[in-house]
Amino acid sequence: MLAEEMLAILFMYLKAFAVGGAICATAQIIINVTSLTSGKILVFFMLGGVVLTALGLYQPLVDFAGAGATVPISGFGYLLANGAIKGAEKGFYYAVTGSLSAASAGVTAAVVFSLIMSLLFRSKTKRS
């Protein structure tokens, strides 16, 4: 019983590695072919996550790979679209505000931690 659970956890790590790695490798291929900047890649992959979630294709991937699908930036798009879809069931107000509400944890963390880090650290790139 315990061994079975351990095996399931190990398999989940493997799936997360494979799916997350595949998404990143896809992005790398697109960068190699089109030489898009990293900012544009982030926007396009986020939009890809939104579209796939709206079409109902991203949820199965999240169920299958867990963090492998939620950790890449397309998972951020999944979060936004999922919030909107869940909000739409409650009413029009929640359909409009649902996406940013769902993303509030990530955006808040990025802003707060970045401000703290900018107080603590000096620029490293200029020195090296």
């Binding site: 956890i9 990143c24 982030l42 890449p72």
Partner: protein, 148 residues
Amino acid sequence: MTDSARRGNINYLEYVRSLEPSTKHFKNCLSAFGVGGLICVIGQFFRYMLGFAGLSGDELAGAVSVVLIFLGCFLTGLGVYDRIGRHAGAGSIVPITGFANSVTSPAIEFRTEGYIFGTAAKMFTVAGAIIVYGVFSGVMVGIIYYFL
């Protein structure tokens, strides 16, 4: 330099160019796959750990991304994340830690221009685009699902 020698030189350079990118691209993709996959495995690890701590559902997903964003910001502050990114390419850009890096990096870089128009305003050079198009497309999805 004779004509044939020059032509030979050009042929050789073309030959080199035809060989070089594909191997470089393959190596790029492999390291992107490895690093990106590894970051997702770390995310999965925190999913299990915070799950044991009693979180579930949206709360768990939010907590995992907060932890990863903290790690991304902290490693960017230390200058470690950019060193990883030099080898990993998209493997360090596409995960949520890369989003954190895109916020923290200009925040530190532009501190010399002041805390309001440097740190705070420049923080959103990349993240702003993601939030603008993310929120817009999210609202569209919400409205479409509401009327369907």
